[in-house]
């Protein structure tokens, strides 16, 4: 069995369609981000790791309800958010404070629950309490991680490839990250430290994907010398690597799918984020990275400027 054997799709010829699709996705992302920014004051739903605050996960012996819990906790922890989580009688209590009047909110919650249900009526299965100082630090570090990884990748590609490949790859990866963040914002998924890890993994995977395509383009450029134009070479490179691009994407996506369905609540969100990110990354390896390289080359390489527009028209006409 061989998928896409000798595939010869004119990906670059259809790049306007890709521009439209990517443009629409990014526009939707920005709209979602703006919508939440204006409605909730923050485009991302930062979790305790970044805002500081307290999460207590509680498993009850007996059946209870969100309303009953709200009644129990409303007075002592005003503004606590209560949701069901995972198993039957498991609930998550979220409070935006770490400490209140010198006492830790987590302890206050446990005390109030003990008063209502007795010490044996429930078990605290998880507590995450982050002080405001730590939250601010983690926010900085997460941002630093993302910026550093971009800088590192750009530098490495500039050394190993020509700089235009590096820029094109980073443009394509930025596209993937924008769309992924758009989804995280649109559905207001909780942003925690593992979310940052997931986004960085997408960066890693996606850049990996672009390198494979560009490595082939570099090889083909060397082989053909100046006999063929860039569009033809890029098209051939994308087509030649297409079976690999799809195959690796599929094997990665099936493992993520298994993780999403069976991995449990704790990893479901990051599995979903990586699934979407890798899906978008695969798309951009095929439809975005090469057009980006083409545009960058045409814009900034003066010696090719005269011939470039004509070539583009020719390929367009051949469709």
């Amino acid at each position: 069995m061989r998928l896409f054997a000798n595939a010869n799709f004119d990906f670059l010829g259809h790049r306007r369609a890709a521009y439209a699709a990517s443009g629409a996705a990014i526009a939707l992302s920005i709209i979602a981000a703006l919508f939440w920014q204006f409605n909730k004051g923050s485009w991302l739903n930062y979790g305790v790791d970044f805002t500081g605050g307290t999460i207590v996960q509680v498993e009850f012996r007996q059946e209870t309800s969100v309303g009953e819990l709200r009644e129990t906790l409303g007075a002592v922890v005003p503004g606590a958010e209560i949701t069901r989580f995972g198993a039957e009688n498991e609930y998550l209590v979220r409070a935006s404070d770490f400490a209140e009047g010198g006492r830790e909110v987590g302890a206050v919650i446990v005390e109030a629950l003990t008063g209502r249900y007795g010490a044996d009526g429930f078990t605290v299965t998880r507590t995450e309490a982050v002080g405001p100082k730590i939250g601010g630090e983690l926010q900085q570090r997460a941002l630093l991680a993302i910026l550093l990884s971009f800088a590192g990748i750009l530098a490495y590609l500039a050394i190993r490839f020509e700089w235009r490949f590096g820029v094109a790859a980073v443009v394509a990866v930025a596209h993937d990250i924008l769309v992924t963040l758009g989804m995280i914002s649109a559905f207001q998924m909780e942003v925690l430290l593992p979310t940052v890890a997931a986004v960085l993994t997408i960066v890693g995977y996606s850049i990996n994907d672009k390198i494979i395509v560009f490595d082939r383009a570099r090889e083909n450029l060397k082989k053909s010398g100046r006999r063929e134009d860039l569009v033809t070479i890029l098209n051939r490179s994308v087509n030649e690597t297409l079976p690999r691009t799809v195959m690796t994407s599929v094997t990665t996506l099936v493992t993520l799918f298994a993780l999403f369905v069976l991995g449990g609540e704790m990893v479901r969100d990051i599995a979903l984020i990586m699934f979407v990110g890798i899906l978008v990354g695969t798309y951009s390896s095929i439809f975005v990275a090469s057009p980006a390289l083409l545009v960058i080359t045409e814009r900034w390489k003066p010696q090719q400027k005269s011939g470039a527009p004509a070539r583009t028209v020719r390929t367009g006409a051949a469709v």
Partner: protein, 529 residues
């Protein structure tokens, strides 16, 4: 030798044996989120910002030492207690079940002081000045509002029984008392020397007054007011003792030789009895000789636990801290922290994460199932698509899994919940190098090369892409490790080991398997790929 097929097989077997052995002997270290436990980040408390950075660092170092001693005695297996940066302490306790108790043991300052109780006369003389200081600090408005808010019951009572006029009168009275004598109005005589009583309902108000810097300034020299350790009942009402003490202790807990928990059968209460060292015993003897008839307060973390009257000179240097009806375990913990020594300053918990053992076990179980299903899917896809070559890739994947787990055991890396996710994800990505190589071989075969040539070319042509892509992924993993904490670090480590292992397995192992196959069959017409 490494170049020959035999040599290659030996290398692979050696790597597998090492990985397997390390995995078998070391086992995998599970993160707190998988085995359950508590993670705390603490910092020296400094609300007024009086510490210099050097003093902070010093206090942190001292606190670190004392926490180590305390945790050792507390009895937790393989605790992690370390300093991060210059002024933060991380404590990780695996498998702990009573988090509150552990937190208390870590956090209690346990600063023991011995102070003389002063006569209350001097303080009573200073009360008008202190009252004025409070009024000035808080403003009359705030005080009357507070007094009204705190006495709604009485106001209502007056409304019901005394009519409108009296209620207003009463309210005015409350207002004037609250605004003129905010503190002295709430202090009651106790009958004992150097001790006032405050109704439990006024405790928070008075405590707030006493913490005002203006009040501290208005105090007579070398005098301070400290609370008794717990409320006492008198009739139907609950009261707190407020002691008038010399602010300078004549002795501190440094002179403690030992401490042990016990029960006092006479008054049926929990106690911690302690013994002083020679210097301490001598000081104690001297002070008690000078102050027969006076009271001596035993102060722990700014609370007076007992204030016995000195009947005679006390030699021998023994004493006790009375804990009332507290459970014996609390006394045990107190004795423990007293023996370990006082913290140089109170500590603030700035981050706390606890995971119960059941949740961790659940994460492991679910991770296992997801892993098995994910791997099975990859195996099916690879074999269905690449046939014989797919089988080789799956064999290489087996080697990969062993190396990753063995590598983690060797590096003593911690497996966390996101780490499991990273592991499963890396299996999907691990076949990438094989996919690259196989696609190359197919291309070469399609271009009409012989099987041997195609395999050789396929491997060498795919190499640059594999190297470049692995290095960039490794770079992101390293950045994650540098910048991340806890579980995220675990994820980064798993990812890094995975990348290196996949390079070895997909490139070296698969190549060897191909070579082995081609060597066995002298003439190869076609290959199933």
């Amino acid at each position: 030798m490494v170049g020959t097929v035999k040599g290659r097989i030996l290398v692979i077997l050696a790597v597998m044996a090492t990985a397997g052995w390390n995995l078998y002997t070391n086992g995998l270290k599970l993160g707190l989120d998988l085995q359950g436990g508590m993670h705390l980040a603490l910092e020296v408390s400094d609300p007024d910002g009086t510490f210099t950075p050097e003093a902070r660092a010093d206090a942190t170092d001292q606190a670190l030492k004392i926490i180590r001693t305390r945790i050792d005695e507390f009895g937790v297996e393989e605790p992690l207690i370390q300093k991060v940066g210059s002024d933060r302490i991380i404590v990780e306790l695996a498998g702990i079940t009573d988090e509150e108790r552990a937190k208390d043991v870590i956090r209690q300052t346990a600063y023991l002081e011995f102070k003389l109780v002063k006569s209350e006369e001097e303080l009573i003389a200073a009360l008008p000045r202190i009252d004025r200081a409070i009024v000035q600090a808080l403003g009359e408005e705030a005080l009357t509002d507070r007094a009204r808010a705190e006495r709604p019951g009485e106001a209502i009572e007056q409304l019901l029984w005394g009519g409108q006029d009296t209620a207003q009168q009463r309210e005015a009275e409350v207002d004037s008392i609250a605004s003129a004598r905010p503190l002295s109005a709430l202090l009651l005589q106790s009958g004992s020397e150097g001790e006032f009583l405050v109704a439990e309902s006024d405790f928070a108000t008075v405590d707030r007054f006493l913490s005002l810097p203006e009040v501290r300034q208005a105090m007579p020299r070398n005098t301070e007011l400290l609370w008794g350790s717990e409320p006492r009942g008198r009739g139907a009402q609950l009261y707190r003792s407020l002691y008038v003490l010399e602010s300078r202790p004549f002795m501190t807990g440094e002179v403690l030789e030992s401490a042990a928990a016990g029960r006092d059968p006479q008054f049926n209460q929990t106690i911690v009895s302690f013994e002083l060292n020679r210097t301490g015993a001598r000081t104690f003897e001297r002070v008690t000789a000078q102050h027969v008839g006076d009271r001596i307060a035993i102060v722990l973390d700014n609370r007076v636990y007992s204030a016995p009257v000195v009947n005679e000179r006390i030699a021998g240097g023994r004493g006790q801290i009375e804990l009332g009806q507290a459970p014996l375990q609390e006394a045990n913990d107190l004795a423990l922290v007293l023996r370990a020594g006082a913290l140089p300053a109170p500590l603030d918990i700035i981050e706390e994460r606890t995971v119960g053992p059941s949740l961790g076990a659940d994460s492991i179980a679910k991770g296992k199932i997801a892993g098995i299903v994910g791997v099975a899917l990859v195996v099916v896809i690879m074999i269905a698509y690449y046939r014989f070559a797919g089988v080789l890739a799956v064999l290489a994947l087996g080697v990969y899994a062993l190396i990753v787990l063995g590598g983690m055991a060797t590096l003593n890396a911690t497996l966390t919940a996101p780490g499991i996710a990273g592991l499963i994800l890396s299996i999907g990505m691990a076949v990438d190098a094989n996919v690259l190589i196989f696609e190359r071989i197919r291309e070469e075969l399609a271009a009409g090369r012989s099987v041997r040539m195609a395999v050789d070319e396929g491997f060498s042509n795919a190499m640059s892409a594999i190297v470049d892509s692995n290095i960039t992924t490794l770079m992101t993993a390293l950045i994650l490790f540098e910048v991340g904490t806890g579980p995220v670090r675990g994820f980064a480590v798993t990812l890094s080991i995975g990348i290196i292992a996949s390079f070895f397995s997909a490139v070296y192992v698969t190549r060897t398997l191909f070579l082995l196959y081609l060597q066995r069959k002298r003439t190869v017409e076609a290959i199933s790929i």
